[in-house]
């Protein structure tokens, strides 16, 4: 098991390195190819109407004229080992993982990300609880009652659900639930101190979409599992149907769904961009989006890497959990 985990960990680190390199290359090379110069990049940092000396100073400080691999090397080094930063009057340590400083606000990108993570986490986890509960139970019931009215209605709603993007349901609920009927207060959540139930609307909108997907997935998985030979065996042993369904069926069904869940939650933790934009919630996704809109490269890079980290981490956790749940994986 330990070897298994170590192997997965190494794989995850490798994956992250590749992603960071590709991200770095794309965010630096593509604009270059499109004609953006290091002066332009320095200009973003310099604010209004910078002069040549200012630009030169900024380029020098951030090493913007270094070859890309050198810049990438420094970037990775500062993530691993931290960096020091000269404020003019003193040197400030930017401890590892140092993701550099925003071109726009001069704030530490790491700090900004740390600030936003709880917000996005609250959105994602709240929604996840709802959609897993709703999606899985509806999926299981539908599979067990295949062909019944319940199944038809549930699957109809689920198919509609996967066809409803959050930016539609979100805007609709804002327009009517919040503004026209005043049933819920404005969605407002900025950090751990705030009342998490302010996020009710984004939770529901996000969970609706995912619950629909999970209901479909669970139903399909459950139907497949319930046709497995081992279910037949369980029945042949004379086990009560409840035991057959829950102990033998559900456990096998949920294992692959766990994988999908890992990917989904990883993606969301990295920034629920659409949801955050729809409801203007200042999470990681919004940070990244703002970074893109302001061409704030360090922020975009940092946010992208964080998002990738969450995905890789979630997959890692799922992999390990898979090993715990499925002895075949553990022993292979």
């Amino acid at each position: 098991m330990v070897a298994f985990i170590v192997r997965r960990l190494l794989g995850a680190v490798g994956l992250l390195l590749i992603i960071s390199a590709v991200t770095y290359a794309i965010f630096f090379l593509v604009p270059r190819a499109a004609g953006v110069t290091s002066d332009d990049i320095a200009g973003r940092f310099a604010g209004k109407q910078p002069d040549a000396a200012t630009l030169a100073a900024i380029k020098d400080r951030f090493g913007l004229d270094d070859p890309i691999p050198v810049q990438y090397g420094k970037y990775i080094k500062s993530i691993v080992a931290g960096d020091t930063y000269d404020t003019g009057t003193e040197k400030i340590d930017c401890p590892a993982p140092c993701l550099g400083y925003s071109f726009r606000t001069n704030q530490s990108v790491t700090d900004q990300i740390v600030d936003r993570v709880p917000v996005t986490m609250m959105i994602a986890l709240g929604a996840a609880v709802l959609w897993v509960l709703a999606g899985v139970s509806i999926g299981v019931l539908s599979a067990l009652r295949r062909g019944t009215l319940f199944d038809r209605v549930a699957m109809g709603v689920a198919l509609a659900g996967v066809s409803l993007p959050v930016f539609f349901t979100g805007l609709l609920s804002l327009a009517f639930v919040v503004h026209r009927w005043n049933l819920l207060p404005e969605v407002n959540y900025t950090g751990l101190g705030d009342n998490p139930f302010n996020l009710l609307l984004p939770w529901v909108c996000l969970a609706f979409l995912y619950a629909a997907m999970y209901a479909r997935l669970t139903r399909a998985g459950m139907l497949e599992t319930m046709n497995e030979d081992f279910i037949r065996t369980a029945r042949a042993k004379g086990l009560p149907e409840k035991t057959v369904v829950v102990k033998h069926g559900l456990r096998a069904t949920l294992t692959p769904i766990m994988t999908v869940f890992g990917l989904d939650i990883g993606l969301l933790l990295g920034g629920a961009i659409i949801t955050e934009r729809t409801f203007s919630i200042p999470g990681l996704g919004q940070l990244a989006l703002d970074g893109v809109n302001q061409s704030d490269l360090p922020v975009v890079l940092g946010a992208t890497l964080t998002a990738a980290l969450f995905i890789v981490l979630a997959n890692l956790v799922v992999d390990i959990l898979y090993g715990v749940v499925d002895p075949r994986v553990r022993h292979s």
């Binding site: 030979d229 037949r232 029945r235 042949a236 042993k237 004379g238 086990l239 002895p327 022993h331």
Partner: protein, 362 residues
Amino acid sequence: MARKQQAELINGGSGDSSGGRGAPTSFLEVRDLKIHFPTDDGLVKSVDGLNFQLERGRTLGIVGESGSGKSVTSLGILGLHNRRNAKVSGEIWLDGTELVGASAGRVRRLRGQKMAMIFQDPLSSMHPFYTVGSQIIEAYRVHNDVSKQVARKHAIDMLGRVGIPKPDKRVDDYPHQFSGGMRQRAMIAMALSCDPELLIADEPTTALDVTVQAQILDLLRDLQQEFNSAIIMITHDLGVVAELSDDILVMYAGRCAEYGPVDDTFHRPLHPYTWGLLGSMPRLDRERSERLMPIKGTPPSLINVPRGCAFNPRCAYGDLNGDKSTTERPELLELEPGHKAACHLPLEKRREIWDSEIRPKL
């Protein structure tokens, strides 16, 4: 003794239709069993009017190509068909209890205890996430009110009895850690954990290599002697049947094509389909120059079963009967004591063909 039981079988099985003749005397009696599956493409008649009887301590071999209804029959006896998508009719009497009309709960309580099943592919038939031991314990405890420790001891005991070395260690292994033969033994241990009186083995040796096959068959035979169970052996391997069974039932398109004591059926088969089965059986003692005689064509659609004799499109001798083959369904008739077949060909003609054309080639 053996003769007498055969006679009972013959008598009981001669009638073809309508059940309701009161409680049977046999341990297991199947009467006019029909198992149909309605699908979008039509009604699939997997089993369409099957009769047979079986006593304790005896073994019945059911043979046929895949899709002939063998497995559906066995699942039907255990009541494992989903009542929503399978239409089951007829009667199944097990030790005086009718199962088709019984409540699901009643049948469930019999399953695993009074009747058990050994499945074809032990790897997919055991839950991959639970240890072999826990799966046996579960089977035992559901019918016996004992503590986990007691059940565990029983499981180890059972594993030992089916010949698994170091059962006290292997009890905590997962199915995928067992070899194929060991897995099948574990499967058998699980099926036997409650000393079932009826054991259905569905292709118990198909997935195994030959040496292991023999071991498993030996094991089954030994266990039958020990428990005096009735065994239904489902297979398409006539060799297995020959070795283990007392009687043989050849199924074709959901119906019985030929039925009889194993010796009679092997040495004087009365149905062209049986001939085909025998002809397609590879044998070590056969000359290399001689070729297998496979049955031409493919098994029939169970939705549109050929009119008349279901076997007629594939039967080399169907023409000898004129229209009859395609218009009239042959009845299952007792042609020799205890030996029945459903064929339009005159009995003499059949014997002649068997003796002159088929047997020499086998």
